[in-house]
Amino acid sequence: MLQRILNSAGIDVRSCAELLGFNPDMFMQWAANPNQIPQSVVPLLSAVLSVPQSLFTTSPKAAKHLKDSDVTPQIWYKFRGEELQQSDREYVVLIRQIGHFLNELEEVTHQKSVQWKTNFESIRSSVDIQAPPTEQGKMAARIFRQSTSLSHGASGSGNVLRGLLRALGILVVESPLANSRIEGCCFYVGSTNSPRPCVFANSHHTIWFRRNVILVHEVGHAIFEHLAGASLDFSGGGNSNDAIELRAQAFAQETLIPKEVLFHAAQSRGIKWSALNEYALACLVADTHVEQKLVVSAAIDYGFVESERQDQLNNFEIHGELLKLSDHALSTEQFLEKNGESTSDWIGKRSTTLSPKAIRLPIGYVNAVVDAYRNRQISPGKAAEYLIIDEQELTERFGDIYENVEC
C-alpha cells in the first residue's frame, strides 16, 4: 500500500526514505510489505503522505480492490504535475514533516492554536458564493481584517503579518528554492484529523514586499481552495485571470492594502496622486509594505489614479529610492551587514543541516522548539530532531542548558 501511495504521489521511494530519516532499503521493504512498518512510525508517514493511518494496515487482499484514485491523497494530484520537479515534491515532504513536528510540539507545550479554523469557516459562510471572484476575495479580506488585529490601524502590516498568521495556527515557510518555478503555494499539513494550513513563499530572488503579497495570496487560496488539496503559483503568473487567482489576489490586496491604508500612506506623506513620481511611489511601497504592482493596482481600484497610467506607473524604477526609505528593500545579506548582524546568527540558526535538502525553518517554529528545549519540555535530542540538525549543533547554536548538570 505504501508503494502505491508513493507511486500515486510521484514520490521516489528512496528519496522519501532519506528525507524522513529511514534506511532506504528498509523503506523499500515497508513499501512492499506494510506489516513490517512499526506502529510508532505510522503517524509520521500518515501525516507526511496525507493518508489516514488505517490505510497502512489495509490487508494486501483488500488493497487489491482499491483503485489508485481511492488511495491518492488530494494534495498529490497537484504536486505530481509535470510543471513540478522531483525536488519540489521533496520540499513538500520536508515541509509536511515540519507540520507534523509542529503538531507534536504544540501537544507538549499545550499551545495549540486552531483559530484559523473558525476564522476561515466564518469567512466561507459569510461570503456570497455567487458574487464575482474579486468581490468574494474582498469580502473575505474585510472579515479577515476585522477578525484579526489588522483592522486596528491604517498602516502597512508587513511587519506583523507573519506573527499574526502563526498566531492563527498557520505554518508560514519562506525558504529559497533556487531551481524551482514555484513562487508560492499552500496546502494543508498535519495528520488527516488534525490539519493546519501551510503557506509557502519561495524567497529566492523575491523581495520582502513581494513575499508579503505571496503569503497573503496563499492564505486566500487556503481559505477558498481548502478542498483542492493544494494551490500552486508559478513565477511569471500564467493563470492570473483564473477566477481562483483573481479571488486570491483580491484577498491579498484588500487584506494588505485596503483603501484606508493607501489613503493614510499618501496623506501622511503629502502625496498628490496626480503628481505621482518614482519617489512618491517608493514612499507608498515602503509605507504599505506591499510591492509596487499591488500599490498601483490598488490605487487604480480605489479611483486615486486613472487606469491608463497603470503601465507607466508599473514601469517606474523605484528600487533606488526604496533602498533609501526601507531596510526591507535590502537583500538579506545587505540587511544583515547594515544592522551588524552576522549571517550565521540570522540565517544559520534556522537552516537545517541533516536533511538531504536544506530548508530555512520559520523563525516562530525555531523559537517554539528552542523555548520547549530551554523549558525542559523536550530533550536536546528531540529539539535537534525538530530542527533537523545534530545535537552538538543544537548546543552550539542555542547553548547547553545541561552544561553543569551531571547526567
Binding site: 525542559r376 519540555q377 530533550s379
Partner: protein
C-alpha cells in the same frame, strides 16, 4: 532478586559498541548472567539509518541479531515477558506509553524507556539529558538506566575486557566525536573508572538479596 531477563539497549549505547567493534560485553551478559540484550523495534529502525553514520551499522546489527547477541522486542517477545509485568499491561498499552514519551524524547529512547517501564526491566542508554527531561515531566524511566561505560567498567572489573581494550574503545569513541561520561573525557579508562559511579555490579547469589533498583541511578547487582 533474580537477574533481569532482558537489558533493553538504546541506539546511542549500541552505536558506541559498534564503533568499537566489540560486542563481547553483551555476549557475556547473555552467556554468564543469562541477561539477553534486546532492542525495541524503533531502535532497530534507528540503527539502520543514522543521520551521522547513515547505514554503516547495518551489517553489525544484522550479525548480532542473527547470532542472538541481540534480540528484537517484538509483540511475541513482549507477550512472553508479561508474567512479571504490572497487571493489565499489554502491547497496546506499551505502544501508547511510547507514543507519549516520543513527544518528549527521540523515538528509540522513548520506546526503550516505555518498554522498560512496562516490563520492569533495566535499560542501557547514554542519553542522561533525555532521562532528566522525562523525569522532569513526571514520566517514569527504566530503573536503572545503565550507560555503556557501566557495562565497560563492569566488564573490565570482571576480567572480560583488558585495560588496553577499554582504552582502545575510549580512544575510538573520542576519534568519532562520541560523547563520554565526564570522568573519562580527560582521563585514561582506569583513572576515569576510579571516580565513575558504576551502576552495574556483580556478586554471588549467596550474598543476596540485593536492593531492587527503584531509580534510574540505582545500582543493579547481577549474579553469574
Amino acid at each position: 532478586m533474580p537477574n533481569p531477563p532482558l537489558l533493553l539497549c538504546d541506539s546511542d549505547a549500541l552505536v558506541q559498541l559498534f564503533l568499537a567493534n566489540n560486542l563481547r560485553p553483551l555476549q557475556s551478559l547473555k552467556s554468564t548472567y543469562h541477561i539477553q540484550p534486546s532492542i525495541v523495534l524503533e531502535v532497530n529502525v534507528e540503527l539502520r539509518w543514522m543521520k551521522k553514520y547513515k547505514n554503516r551499522f547495518v551489517p553489525q546489527l544484522d550479525k548480532a541479531l542473527k547470532n542472538g547477541v541481540l534480540t528484537k522486542l517484538d509483540p511475541s517477545a513482549f507477550q512472553s515477558l508479561l508474567s512479571t509485568a504490572t497487571p493489565g499491561m499489554s502491547w497496546a498499552n506499551y505502544q501508547s506509553l511510547g507514543q507519549r514519551y516520543e513527544l518528549v524524547v527521540q523515538r528509540g529512547e522513548a520506546y526503550t524507556h516505555a518498554a522498560a517501564v512496562s516490563l520492569g526491566l533495566p535499560a542501557m542508554s547514554n542519553d542522561g539529558k533525555a532521562v532528566l527531561t522525562l523525569t522532569g515531566q513526571m514520566m517514569s524511566v527504566a530503573a536503572p538506566v545503565l550507560r555503556l561505560f557501566d557495562l565497560l567498567v563492569f566488564s573490565h572489573d570482571n576480567g572480560l575486557l583488558s585495560t588496553k581494550e577499554c582504552d582502545d574503545i575510549r580512544s575510538e569513541l573520542l576519534n568519532n566525536g562520541e560523547g563520554l561520561p565526564g570522568p573519562f573525557q580527560h582521563a585514561s579508562f582506569v583513572n576515569g573508572a576510579t571516580t565513575f559511579p558504576c551502576r552495574l555490579k556483580s556478586d554471588v547469589a549467596a550474598n543476596g538479596p540485593f536492593p531492587h533498583p527503584t531509580n534510574h541511578y540505582d545500582p543493579l547487582t547481577i549474579c553469574p
